[in-house]
Symmetry: C2
Subunit: 454 residues, 2 copies
């Protein structure tokens, strides 16, 4: 075991391939279905939305996909990202556990999202696409795609959930600084948006609505495609560079994780971190427990239903088999905007069903308490999303303090909180409350599932 | 010349000493004077404000000062920082020049300030100090000191210029997340603050007033000391790790700078970047032109007077010989808050008088235009302060385009703009104007210089 705090790979050691876990699973995940025919969707169904290379990656059975040199070149702006041993946090907790965290806040926008935004922009540009559309909540994904589009000369239009557009202007301004356009959603620019606005002119919007708008615009223009920041197989594929680097860094550290903890919203940070370790586990080389941590306010894995549902509110996307709270579910306005999605990546959902991972849910005040403790010890203020994983790490480390167990824990701090500081302000002022999510509310939301899929 | 874009040092190659340029200069800078006796200040005069080790560093004649292991350990959270070749910006400009930038935005608070906050907190803690006080404008320095104090278990109290306290809450929230206390300045907690508030209850405050308050509190409590984020010799000393790393990284790149450009407010980023290169120049090993870039709204080097002046508004600090606009000068509210100081580091001022560096001033709209161009090309949104240096780089690179000269340009991007995005928003909305600073206003401010010093 190494005595260092930071484990850094040389650029020459950066992984040159993404890892596709599907061929290593005992069974493949169920296919996405066409919403009209209920037949598995084919490449031709997805062609209006995605470039051919990403459609191919979505269904590939190859275990590894080469990362193009043009993508590696942009990755090198911030990658390889560091793996830290959280020695100060361990000391503050008085735990015999060894806590490691992979830190993705070093990217230009401060999160893991550019890992997929960059290849998505690249493949679209290579196939002659002129413009990308997307949705964003608080703005992590929108700013990542705007950054990536600027790198490859693509236009970028972002539909941002109106509540965030109005209340959290910083990320919108970052998107605009990178040269992209932002529309508050619901917008009068799309049929989906107009329909919502007619019924509710003051609608605060939701990710599901914003997806509908971005998809509609992309589907209606042959020179425009759509980009999604989580959920889909190819997105998780691109994020596996996190776990591949972390595996090499654990070799440097001379250590092996007993527990891997990741926060889950759509599942891309979680999948990106854990899939390479899960490959090693399935091959019998290591045996870590793998635990997903979701917000108690949006508990798709722990309280949702595993069934076919739409990815968006208007029902424009294919039906995906996933853990879902129903595509009409609107979570309470917790600060971890990136975890407020009604569904869970079909691939993560499938792996959960296979019993390969555990899941727990955490209320946000526990998460912010963990975030403050982490910030004071480690010097990095974590984004609200990874505080969920940090809370679970601290819980386990304190358990080890009781038992004396020298457990090795790994997590990912998938972003910093520079643009989420008002949430910390509310926590520090004692103004944060944990609203209970009743079973009645979940049941009501699940009743909106497409009838043929229930 | 290397074809890479990013030049990274291994942790083992991180400098273990800071560089003190004073013994290498043809003459030492004039001493600071006691405001009452006008005699050079001695260590006993500074003891109420600073720990013994920092006082010793302020006047040391040693060329190198060892960096303590405890400081190196915290530095390793983000150091060595990367040196980038700005290939995308070069391409966008169509210039034959080669542009490099040292990027300090990778620190936990997103700027170069922790380079000195960490050793200052360390030496105070080692000498038994319980609490540090300081001032901050927009909050870069306050958040850096709060971070450093959390690392060494010190209490931290920050007086923040009221205008920023009210209008820019993000950095205040970061300071509080790290466990420090923030007071809007002027505050009723000090005699200096009360005096201002009596005359002007709605005073928006200034850095000079906030310094007076923090100094007053430190001087009045034997367990409390004061910390300054720029201007002083020991602060510039700590920042030389930037230039020392950059020198080694230029060796990796197999290149040599012809021009080094840094933004100047109090002078710590500039001194930190250029002093190690100036050492090499004075020794005849390289021959770069070195250029300071200051804001046209606060042009202490290009339009100020080289004379003895106070560092603060109330006249509590020693008199320092420096380029100054007068300690009562209140610059227009430009967005580069870190460059809004009436004076310039005595050491940088002295080196300017010796003719070893050049200085130019830039209006902020030119700087933001440069910042936007840099962000879209390089993917990093630079803080308003370094956009001044970037504007000067672009100006030179376009000159090279005319002449065909393959000039090698180095600058420092001393921070990112995550917490300064509203300023970019104003620029993009066309709402930014460059107010002219009249000679009359400068003359009026200079008339407030202490009479014996004029």
């Amino acid at each position: 075991m190494d005595t260092r705090t930071k484990f850094v790979l040389d650029e020459s050691e950066m992984p040159r391939q993404w890892y596709n876990i599907i061929p290593d699973l005992p069974s493949p995940p169920p296919p996405a279905l066409h919403p009209a025919t209920l037949e598995p969707v084919g490449p031709e169904d997805l062609a209006p939305l995605f470039p051919a290379e990403l459609i191919a990656q979505e269904v590939t059975t190859e275990r590894y996909v080469d990362i193009p040199e043009e993508v590696l070149e942009v990755y090198r702006l911030w990658r390889p990202s560091p793996l830290f041993r959280a020695r100060r946090l361990e000391k503050a907790l008085g735990t015999p556990a060894r806590i490691y965290y992979k830190y993705e806040g070093v990217s230009p926008v401060g999160s893991h999202k550019p890992n997929t935004a960059v290849p998505q922009a690249f493949y679209n540009a290579r196939e002659g696409v002129r413009r990308l559309t997307t949705e964003t909540g608080a703005g992590q994904w929108g700013s990542s795609l705007a950054f990536a589009c600027a790198q490859f000369g693509l236009e970028c239009e972002v539909w941002q959930v109106r509540a965030s557009y109005d209340q959290k202007p910083y990320r919108r301004l970052m998107i605009e600084t990178f040269g992209a356009t932002v529309h508050p959603s619901p917008s009068p620019l799309t049929a989906s948006g107009r329909k919502i606005l007619e019924a509710a002119p003051d609608s605060p919007g939701s990710l599901g609505i914003a997806i509908s708008e971005a998809v509609e615009v992309a589907a209606g223009d042959p020179q425009t495609r759509y980009a999604l920041g989580s959920v889909l197989n190819h997105v998780l594929l691109h994020q596996t560079i996190i776990g591949e680097e972390a595996l090499r860094q654990f070799e440097l550290a001379g250590d092996t994780p007993d527990l891997i903890v990741g926060c889950t919203g759509g599942g891309s940070n979680f999948g990106g971190l854990v899939f390479p370790f899960l490959r090693e586990k399935l091959a019998g080389r290591i045996n870590p427990v793998i635990r997903a941590v979701e917000p108690a306010a949006c508990p798709s894995l722990t309280r949702g239903k595993y069934t076919y549902d739409y990815g968006d509110t208007a029902g424009l996307t294919p039906l995906m088999k996933m853990h879902t709270l129903g595509h009409d579910f609107v979570p309470d306005p917790i600060h971890a905007g990136g975890l407020r999605y009604h569904g869970m990546s079909p691939l993560v959902s499938h792996i959960y069903e296979l019993g390969l991972i555990e899941a727990v849910a955490k209320p946000q005040s526990e998460c912010f308490a963990a975030g403050v403790q982490f910030a004071r010890a480690e010097g990095i203020v974590p984004a609200p999303e990874p505080t969920h994983a940090i809370a679970a790490c601290i819980e386990e480390a304190l358990r080890c303090k009781e038992t004396g167990e020298e457990k090795v824990i790994l997590t990912a701090v998938c972003g910093h909180a520079h643009l989420d500081l008002p949430a910390y302000g509310r926590y520090l002022a004692g103004e944060m409350e944990d609203l209970e999510l009743t079973s009645e509310r979940i049941e009501a939301a699940l009743a909106t599932l497409p009838e043929h899929a229930r």
